[in-house]
Structures are given as structure tokens and as C-alpha cells.
């Protein structure tokens, strides 16, 4: 089941509603070079999360140079003019800290969690990465192999690991969401030095970044250090490339079968939905909850508990900056025909379209949203990231305190309406995942 859990986690990002009832106080400002700074003080534990979010993800790539955003996430641990190769993480480990980074369709995120007296070290490390990262040929070649291994491990060799990729490539014809975050390996193979230099120059500039810090900090001291390390980093001179392409309607149901190295057949329905932050996205989010949050949810109860057709089933709207997708996904129980399971999923969706949900069930959804909100940001690392997210996507970091209102503005009728409007046949891609044939 581990793999399934992993896959689930992979799909779930769309539901992460992070905010809390206890108000999160913060200060924010811009440096002259455009770097946006957000500071949140929480002295309860002597640790600090130092992070930079760059507004570049796989959707900012050129169609013939896919995978660059994620590849850069690897390259930018290689070192800088002042940090030798392989030393980046040593500085952090020696300081008693930890670090990580990740890449999505829309942005790239780097962070360290350090003892709070090492704040300045974190700022120095991040300023080095932004100001003058260093990459040599060996680093590029090594990371290229590492990324290929990563691809094998996560997508090719992971049961159901290719779901997102296979769904997106069929759900989008024009928009850059059609290619995988990890990219096509031939593009990385063909990349030249100039490509790397240009990508770094274009996107790794202070005016395309949010420096978000949360934890045991002295705000004034932090501002002084931030000024020292970041103020003299030059602003980018070119406009940042953001795709403006609007994906046309799907124009009819797409169905396909994929043979994978899996144990049990799966059905993946991918519905095209509006972008995160829109009123309809909040309604779709709550529809996803109705269908799959908790063992009393519609899909779980019907397919797993009562009919025992599915081993696992759920619906997950992904939060994406441009209009994206909501994925309904089920794995059949032993001996169950996937078509039978799909029919059962469809029947549950039809029920939402045909009948308004009860007040009691609607109240359950509101209670769950509230609980998730409160349980979000329990750690400073999460708060730093949420603040950066809200600023980067919505220009309003204070949504960390207020986004709940947007969910609570959704009505029962909205949920029924979005189920009818978006969860319909001609707006979906349906994939059957079947076990690769044994070949005795």
C-alpha cells in the first residue's frame, strides 16, 4: 500500500488548504531590486525557516526545452562563486539544520530549517544561490544522470507513477501543463551551456522571487541582514516569460488504455477545472471533499466499504495557477472489472449532479474545511511556504488568515452546479491502467 499512499500524496496537493484560525502576523516589503520579503515571528521554538520561492515552474519552459525548472532545482545545490561543490549541504548539517527543495508546474521552492542563531547563514546561502550560482560540466552531467534515475524511480518504475503525466498530456493540447514537470530526457540531453545560462539569467532574479522567513527572529535584525545580503543583487533586466496561452475546451471525451507494471487495474478520470483562487475552484475543492475525504465520503463508502469494488478511490482537484484539472482515481479490488468500478464512480458523481446535498452533509464539509485550516500551519516551515504561496499567486499574503472565508462562501447549490458544469463526459480524459501482460 505504500506506493498507493505515495501516489495519493502526489495527487493531493490540490487540497492543501493552509491557513489557521489563530492569526498569523507578518511584515512584508519589497527591496529596490524587486525581491519581496515576508517575515513572521514565532519565538516558541528557537528555530527558523529561511526560504525563497521563485516564480518559475515547468510551465515557463520552452516546448523544446522541458524539464529545465526542475533540473535547476538540482543544479542550484552545486555551489556558488563562494561555495565549493558538495559544500552547500555541509554548511547546513554542521549548523544543525536541514534543507530541501522542490519544483511544481508553477514555481520552484528552496528552504533551510536552522537553529535560530544561524539565520544569517541561511540568508548567505540563499543569496549565494541567487547572486552567482556556479555550475560546471561535471555537475551538469552528474545531475542529468541523477534526474534520469529520479524519473525511473518516480514515474517509470513506480506503480501508477505515470498517471499525472499521462493525464496531462491528453488533457492539454496547447498549454505548457501538457508536459511533465520532470521533462523529456532528450531535451536535457540536448541542452547546451547557453541554455542554462539564459534560464538562470531569465528567472533567477530578485524581482521573480519571494524571500519568506518564519520562526524565532528579531524582525529588525533580520531586515538589516536581508539588506546586506540581498539589496545589491541586481534586478533582472528582461520581462519574465509567462505563458499566456489559453487552452481550448477539450471538445469531447478522450479515452485510452495504459499498460503498466502494476498489481491491480486502475481508472483515472481527469476533469478540466478552473484555476486556483477562483470561486469555482473553491466549490470544486469542496466537491472533492464530499467525494473522498474520510471513510464516510461518498466514493469511499460506496466503492470501498459497501460494494467493495475498489481498494482505493478518491477525487483530487490540483491547485494550479492556470486552469488545471481534478483527478478522480480508483484502484479495483481483486477480480473487479475496471469498467464496473468506473460505472460506480460515475453513479456517485451523477448523484451529486442530480440531488442537492443535505444540510447535514454540507455542514460536515464546512467542518472539515475548518479543521484542515486550523491544522495547517502548525510549523514554521509550513507558515513560511504558505505566506510565499499566497503572495506569489494571489498577491495577498494575508490570505493565510482569511482564505477560509472563500471556502465558506461556497453554497450547496454551487457544489451541485460545478459538478454539472465540470464533471461531465466531454470535459474529461479517462485512462484505464491495466497490468502489463505476462508473457509466459
Amino acid at each position: 500500500m505504500k506506493n498507493i499512499v505515495l501516489l495519493f500524496v502526489l495527487l493531493i496537493s490540490g487540497l492543501t488548504a493552509s491557513a489557521q484560525m489563530n492569526k498569523v502576523d507578518f511584515v512584508e516589503y519589497d527591496l529596490d531590486n524587486g525581491l519581496h520579503v515576508i517575515l513572521h515571528q514565532d519565538k516558541s521554538t528557537p528555530i527558523v525557516a529561511v526560504s525563497i520561492m521563485y516564480h518559475v515552474g515547468s510551465k515557463n519552459e520552452k516546448p523544446d526545452k522541458t524539464g529545465f525548472a526542475h533540473f535547476f532545482e538540482h543544479l542550484l545545490f552545486e555551489g556558488s562563486a563562494n561555495i565549493g561543490r558538495g559544500e552547500y549541504d555541509k554548511y547546513v548539517e554542521k549548523a544543525g539544520g536541514t534543507l530541501n527543495a522542490n519544483t511544481s508546474f508553477d514555481r520552484t521552492y528552496y528552504y533551510e530549517i536552522l537553529p535560530s542563531n544561524q539565520l544569517e547563514l541561511g540568508l548567505w546561502l540563499e543569496s549565494e544561490r541567487l547572486l552567482h550560482a556556479v555550475v560546471n560540466q561535471k555537475g551538469i552531467e552528474t545531475q542529468r544522470e541523477v534526474v534520469k534515475e529520479e524519473r525511473r524511480q518516480r514515474i517509470d518504475n513506480q506503480p501508477y507513477g505515470s498517471i499525472l503525466q499521462e493525464a496531462m498530456v491528453r488533457a492539454f493540447k496547447e498549454h505548457p501543463y501538457k508536459w511533465p514537470i520532470i521533462g523529456y530526457m532528450e531535451h536535457l540531453d540536448a541542452a547546451e551551456e547557453a541554455d542554462y545560462v539564459n534560464f538562470y539569467k531569465d528567472f533567477y532574479v530578485p524581482n521573480n522571487a519571494v524571500l519568506s522567513i518564519a520562526g524565532d527572529i528579531d524582525i529588525e535584525q533580520a531586515k538589516t541582514w536581508i539588506n546586506t545580503y540581498f539589496a545589491s543583487i541586481p534586478k533582472g533586466t528582461k520581462p519574465i516569460y509567462r505563458p499566456s496561452v489559453v487552452e481550448p475546451a477539450l471538445g469531447g471525451e478522450v479515452r485510452d488504455t495504459i499498460y503498466d507494471n502494476i498489481q491491480l487495474p486502475a481508472v483515472v478520470q481527469t476533469y478540466r477545472i478552473p484555476a486556483q483562487g477562483t470561486p469555482d475552484f473553491y466549490a470544486v475543492s469542496m466537491l472533492g471533499q464530499l467525494l473522498s475525504q474520510g471513510e464516510s465520503s461518498r466514493l469511499y463508502r460506496a466503492l470501498v466499504d459497501e460494494q467493495q469494488k475498489a481498494l482505493f478511490v478518491g477525487n483530487f482537484p490540483l491547485d494550479m495557477e492556470d486552469p488545471g484539472v481534478s483527478i478522480a482515481f480508483g484502484i479495483t479490488n481483486m477480480g473487479v472489472d475496471p469498467a464496473e468500478m468506473e460505472a460506480a464512480i460515475d453513479a456517485e458523481i451523477k448523484k451529486v449532479q442530480d440531488e442537492l446535498i443535505s444540510d447535514k452533509e454540507f455542514q460536515k464539509l464546512k467542518n472539515q474545511v475548518e479543521n484542515d485550516f486550523v491544522s495547517g500551519n502548525s510549523r514554521v516551515a509550513g507558515i513560511a511556504e504558505s505566506l510565499a504561496n499566497y503572495h506569489m499567486y494571489f498577491g495577498d499574503a494575508n490570505l493565510i488568515n482569511t482564505e477560509l472565508e472563500r471556502y465558506l462562501a461556497v453554497t450547496k447549490e454551487d457544489i451541485q452546479r460545478v459538478a454539472k458544469q465540470y464533471y461531465k463526459k466531454d470535459n474529461r480524459v479517462v485512462l484505464y491502467y491495466l497490468p502489463k501482460q505476462a508473457n509466459p
Partner: protein
């Protein structure tokens, strides 16, 4: 199996997606190159020479641990409260505290009893419970060792009612019991071929001994024999207030917590809890090598392990953690990782652990390595263990480890659950009151002498079990030198001892006689030589899909194989004697060609001792309980395959070979042959079972077998 829990939700997708990118990244080491390329000109760089130096830390803030309050109810329930108002949430965790139990031939019943509790009470069905928990957006889970519940503070009364209903009135529903048993058995089936699970089972039994509560392994048999009464008995005996801790954490004052606990748990009736004493397991007197055979494996799982007497309360504990971290901990800095991965590239990762426990702890060092470096890897493991005892430690390494452990201690304090865990440990294991408050100063005071002292005490390379799961024939001989008495012990996947009697075969039986006997048994060489072609149509069912395999072979000349699933041809292979076409992709050499040629041999056994083939008899081993001769065939390509011939009938009963699957992962494919029936005077197996290709065994029944029928040339035409 609530995969929608908030716990999982709060994990970030991208963290998991790319967490390894970071770990794989540190793998590259520190090779400097002159070709460094600064990717952006930074004209101010020269003016800002101060950037070249990493800043020094500010004075460290002292680390303060949160406070907890404890009290006990009249019925013996011990309660710990940690007040923390950062979030308006509260959690209640009930943990049982009895002596560990020997579950014996019903191993697994404690876990199942725990799972069952949440599936129904005397007044509520599973659906009612799920509905009630979800309605308030709460979490509620049960296990053999207790119950956990968390919610927004304002819903806590509702949750406590539910939690205590489950705790006091579980219905032990028979249908739910069967459902859980079935799920558990499928879980065990999948672990049968997982080398790490196999090594874990053997370590469990060797380190602790059967009969010790830590020495139990659950199997399909033990789970099948679990009765619902056994589960009830466990519940009735151990779910008692005087056997439990209740830990309350979150947005709640000790006074309110006390009132709540008295209200909901005050009427819980005491019981008499059995106590048991167990003999303390000890490390082996000399080093023992234990091998679990996994035919066809291309990687070996190595686990060096032994029980240790180490408790949380021991003065040595912190020094022991520093010592183990230097050996096999850290993100990447451990000696095992540096040696086996960075220097030798034998493995993706090598790590060690040293676990403290009130009954018995253990040491573990492990890695997965390629077959051919199995013995070299064991050598390097033992070398590093020896070095821990014989050599000193650099001050820099000790400091880095101390910093890293201190940092992770500080980060853990962010969660109020950590404070609760500290309080629980203090009470459970009788730790001194300042145990955790003084952790950092004790850590800071560790010296090289301390590390040396505990290394001598806890690192025991000469009193260790060296457990290796892998292809016995490829690795066992080379492992002999590590075993003190020169005899390797063999175990099965569940830690039962297995005997291989290689030496006891009469000398007149050889690979050649076994193969000859087989040919005789299927009809004799003369009869076999008359076979010009063979057609087989087999049918199987997989995951609800009907599939069939049609195979046409002109002996040593041509092959056509079609694989049909749900009416569609999924795979179509044609070999015309000079080239091979797989789904239209044509090859004239390479692996496909070799395989095609091989499948054109209707009776390959005729050639297993000539034409570059070599066959070796490797003793006998049981197949489904019956002894069978084991023949290892080496093909001209160097690839090996194992065949097992039933001693009594002389027929081929099993074949094992390795193939590279997707992602270059080796698969071990076992094919079983049974139900031999005569066709044109020749015995042909009519049931073929393939295991290892798909997760579930695939059983194919021959619907039609024809020998020397008319096969048209167009059948073998490559377009």
C-alpha cells in the same frame, strides 16, 4: 486505511516528489573542476569580498522544553497533559503499558483486535462511526496498543463520547473480522518475495529467539488461525485503566483536561493485568552467517545485527547515539555511506541503527548490494565495525554529529507531541526528571573517549548475525569465510530453518542423467525426435481479464507467439529463422534474437549439455514438499537458469530465471509445470503457473495441444 486523513494531506506533494533529488544530489561528492562557470556576471563581486566567508552564528538561544502536568485517576489511569494554545486543537492518546505478549500460533491477533475496535460498537455500525468522526472533521484511530483521537477543541466532547464508546463497547463484528483477516493475508503474501521483509523476519527470530515476544513472525497460517474470541480475550484483559496512559495535548488547561478525563474515563473499571518475565536474549557467542535463498536475485540484502542491552535510562545512551551516527547516520556523512557508496559504489545506501528498549534493544547495519559484491560488501561492513573499535575519532566528525543531533532535537520541540512523548517516556521508563532538560548539555559534553568507550561496548562484529538474502548459489560459498564455525545456516522467508543436502547425492547421478531421465519420462528420445512442430493454446485469467497465449513452434526453426487480452492482441512475436519481429519491430541480433532461438527449441533439454550450454547438478530441494533435483543451466550468453526435476517422476516441475523488468529492475520469474498429459505419446504439462512477472501468480491452462499438425508458412511471415 483512510488515505484521506489530514495527516497525509499536510504532506506536500512536491516534497515527496522531489525529496530524493536533494539526497541524490549530495551524492556527487566534492570533486572540484577548473571548468566552473559562474552563470551570471556579478560585477559587484570584487567589491564585496566579504561575501566569500560564511557568517558566524549569533549566540544560541537556550532551548526550553515545554511543561507537562501528570495525575492519576482512582481507577489507575495515568494522565499526562501538555498545554499548548498555538492552535485551537486537542488530542487524546491512550496507550497500553503491559508486558509484551507472546502470540504464538495466532501471531497477529493483537493487531487485528486493535483494528476491529473501530469497526463497530454495541450501538453503532462502522458507517455510523465514520460519519460521526468525519462530521466534526476529526481523526480517530485504534490499534492493538491503544486509541488516538484529535479534533478542534470545540468538538472535543463529541469526540470523547465516540472514543470512549469504541473503547468501552466494541462489538467485534464477525464480518469486519473476516474482512480484516483477508487484508492482512494479502499483505503477508506480497511480503513473501520482498527481500527486506525476509531479512527482517530472520533478524526478528535470530536476535530474540522464538518464544520471546519480540521473536514472532506472523504468517498466513498464524493469521488464518486467529479467532475472534482470541481478539475479544485480548481486549477484555488488557484494555483497562490501570494498564494505560492517557496523554492529552493542545489547547486545553490541566484543570479542564482533568474534568474531561474524570467525566469520560472515571467509570472505567480496573482489571488484573498479567505480568510476564522473559529471558533476556543475548548476542551469539561467535559470528554466524545466515542465508535466505532467493533464486534469481541480482541484489543481496545484507543485514548485520545482534541484540544489545541498551535502555533509554542508560547513562551511555547519548554517547551511543553519537557513536552510531558517526558509523551509519547523518544525511550523508556516515562512514558506511562514505565507504560502501561514495568510495566503492556497491550500493545506493548503507546505514546503521542502535535501538534502545526496556526488554532488549538491537544493532542493525544494512544495505542492498549487487550479487557480485556481496562478500566484498560484508567485508567492508565488518571492516568499518572493527575500525570503530580499534581507531579513534576526529574531533571534527564528533562535532558535526553533535551539531546535527542537537539541531534535530531542537526542531522536534516545535511539536507539542514531543513534549508529551518525553513525559510519557519519563514515567514509563522511570527516567530522571531532568532527563530531557539536560539532553543538550549531556550531548555537548560527549568526548572522543566516551565515543570510544561505547563503541567498544556496543559494536560487536565478532558476535553478530550476518543475514544475507540473495541467490544462494551465487553468494553462499564466498560468505563462508565470515562464519566462525564454517557452517552457513539457511532460513526461509519467515525465519524457519531450511536444510539443503547438496552433499548427499549418489555419485552416479549427474546433470546429464537427470536430463536423460526427463526425456525418457516424457516419452523417450525416439518419440521426442519425431516432433516436427507443436501448437499450444493456453488460457488464463488475470485481474478479471481473460487472456490467452497461442504458440506455434516449428522445432529449431520458427516461432509465432500471440498474447491476447480481452480479445485484443497485446503482443505478437514472429521468428522466421533469420529475424525476429516483436509487434512489428524487427531485429536480427541481440537479446530478442537469442530468446527467439531459444523458444524455437521444443525440447531444449536435448541440448543442455552441448553447443555452449553447460548444466550442473546442485543437489536437491523441495518443490511443494517433494524432493527435486536442481539443475543450473548456463546459456552461451552466460545467463543462468535453474530447473527442478521431480526425483520420483523425473518430470520438470519448476524453472527459475531472472529478467530485467521496467526501470532496469531485475525480476525473478518462477514457472511451475504440472498436470502432465499425453499428446501423441509425449507427456506435456497442461498447467503452467508463472510467478514474479505480475504480482499475482498467473495460472495458464492448456486448452489445446497439437503435435505435427499442418502449419501454414504465412503464420511465420514477417511483413
Amino acid at each position: 486505511m483512510n488515505l484521506f486523513s489530514k495527516k497525509i494531506k499536510s504532506i506536500e506533494m512536491r516534497n515527496l516528489l522531489y525529496i530524493l533529488s536533494f539526497f541524490s544530489l549530495i551524492a556527487i561528492g566534492c570533486n572540484k573542476s577548473n571548468a566552473d562557470k559562474v552563470m551570471k556576471e556579478a560585477p559587484m563581486l570584487k567589491k564585496e569580498a566579504w561575501r566569500a566567508t560564511a557568517p558566524s552564528p549569533a549566540p544560541a538561544r537556550s532551548i526550553e522544553l515545554g511543561i507537562s502536568t501528570s495525575f492519576e485517576l482512582d481507577n489507575g489511569l495515568k494522565v499526562i497533559v501538555v498545554e499548548n494554545h498555538k492552535l485551537p486543537r486537542v488530542s487524546y492518546q491512550l496507550s497500553l503499558d503491559h508486558d509484551a505478549i507472546v502470540e504464538g500460533d495466532q501471531a497477529g491477533y493483537v493487531t487485528i483486535a486493535g483494528q476491529l475496535m473501530k469497526t463497530g460498537t454495541t450501538t453503532k455500525s462502522k458507517a455510523d462511526i465514520d460519519e460521526a468522526v468525519d462530521f466534526i472533521g476529526a481523526n480517530l484511530s485504534t490499534s492493538g496498543s491503544g486509541v488516538f483521537a484529535s479534533t478542534l477543541t470545540k468538538h472535543q466532547d463529541k469526540l470523547l463520547s465516540l472514543m470512549t464508546d469504541i473503547l468501552f463497547n466494541p462489538s467485534f463484528n464477525a464480518d469486519e473480522f473476516e474482512k480484516i483477516k483477508k487484508q492482512t493475508i494479502s499483505g503477508i503474501a506480497s511480503s513473501k518475495t520482498d527481500p527486506n521483509a525476509m531479512a527482517g523476519n530472520v533478524a526478528t527470530i535470530l536476535n530474540n529467539g522464538k518464544g520471546h515476544p519480540y521473536g514472532e513472525v506472523q504468517t498466513e497460517e498464524t493469521v488464518k488461525s486467529i479467532t475472534i474470541d482470541k481478539c475479544k480475550e485480548y481486549y477484555n484483559t488488557y484494555f483497562k485503566p490501570n494498564n494505560a496512559y492517557l496523554v492529552v495535548v493542545g489547547d486545553i488547561s490541566p484543570a479542564v483536561a482533568k474534568a474531561n478525563v474524570e467525566k469520560y474515563f472515571g467509570n472505567w473499571k480496573k482489571g488484573k493485568i498479567p505480568t510476564v518475565n522473559y529471558k533476556k536474549p543475548s548476542a551469539p557467542g561467535e559470528r554466524k552467517v545466515a542465508v535466505v535463498n532467493k533464486d534469481g536475485a541480482v541484489q543481496s540484502v545484507i543485514r548485520i545485527t545482534y541484540p544489545v542491552d541498551l535502555k533509554l535510562a542508560d547513562d551511555d545512551l547519548i554517547a551511543a547515539r553519537v557513536m552510531n551516527s558517526i558509523l551509519g547516520g547523518g544525511i550523508f556523512s556516515g562512514r558506511l555511506m562514505q565507504n560502501l557508496r561514495e568510495d566503492k559504489a556497491y550500493t545506493y545506501g548503507a546505514r546503521s541503527s542502535l535501538r534502545a528498549d526496556r526488554l532488549v534493544g538491537n544493532f542493525n547495519a544494512s544495505a542492498s548490494v549487487r550479487n557480485e559484491v556481496t562478500d566484498s560488501s560484508v567485508h567492508e561492513f565488518l571492516f568499518e565495525l572493527d575500525r570503530m573499535i580499534t581507531e579513534g575519532f576526529a574531533e571534527e566528525d564528533i562535532q558535526l554529529t553533535k551539531n546535527s543531533l542537537a539541531g534535530s532535537f531542537a526542531r522536534s520541540l516545535e511539536s507539542p507531541q514531543t513534549i508529551a512523548r518525553f513525559a510519557l517516556n519519563k514515567s514509563r521508563y522511570n527516567l530522571p526528571d531532568d532527563y530531557y532538560n539536560t539532553y543538550l548539555s549531556k550531548l555537548d559534553a560527549i568526548t572522543e573517549a566516551d565515543v570510544k568507550r561505547v563503541a567498544k561496548k556496543y559494536i560487536r562484529p565478532d558476535n553478530a548475525y550476518v543475514i544475507v538474502v540473495g541467490s544462494k548459489d551465487d553468494i553462499a560459498d564466498k560468505l563462508l569465510r565470515f562464519d566462525a564455525d564454517g557452517v552457513i545456516d539457511y532460513y526461509d522467508a519467515f525465519g524457519n530453518e531450511v536444510k539443503y543436502d547438496d552433499a548427499e547425492l549418489p555419485s552416479d547421478i549427474t546433470a546429464a542423467t537427470v536430463l536423460e531421465d526427463y526425456i525418457a519420462a516424457i516419452g523417450g528420445k525416439d518419440k521426442v525426435m519425431t516432433v516436427k512442430n507443436m501448437t499450444t493454446i493456453g488460457a488464463a485469467e488475470m485481474m478479471g481479464q481473460k487472456l490467452s497465449v497461442e504458440s506455434f513452434v516449428v522445432n529449431n526453426a520458427k516461432v509465432r507467439q500471440k498474447f491476447i487480452m480481452a480479445g485484443n492482441v497485446m503482443n505478437d512475436m514472429i521468428y522466421d529463422g533469420t529475424k525476429v519481429s516483436t509487434n512489428g519491430i524487427v531485429a536480427t541480433s541481440g537479446k530478442e534474437m537469442d530468446q527467439a532461438k531459444e523458444s524455437a527449441m521444443i525440447f531444449p533439454q536435448l541440448g543442455f549439455t552441448s553447443n555452449g550450454y553447460k548444466s550442473e547438478l546442485k543437489g536437491t530441494q523441495p518443490v511443494d514438499g517433494n524432493p527435486a533435483y536442481k539443475i543450473v543451466v548456463t546459456k552461451p550468453s552466460g545467463d543462468k537458469m535453474t530447473q527442478l526435476y521431480d526425483v520420483k517422476s523425473s518430470l520438470l516441475v519448476e524453472e527459475i530465471r531472472s529478467e530485467m523488468g521496467p526501470g532496469d529492475q531485475a525480476m525473478t520469474i518462477t514457472t511451475g509445470y504440472a498436470d502432465y498429459k499425453e499428446v501423441n505419446g509425449i507427456m506435456i504439462p497442461h498447467t503452467v503457473t508463472v510467478t514474479g512477472m505480475a504480482p499475482m501468480p498467473l495460472t495458464m491452462t492448456m486448452e489445446k495441444v497439437m503435435i505435427n499438425s499442418t502449419l501454414g508458412d504465412d503464420l511465420f511471415m514477417i511483413k
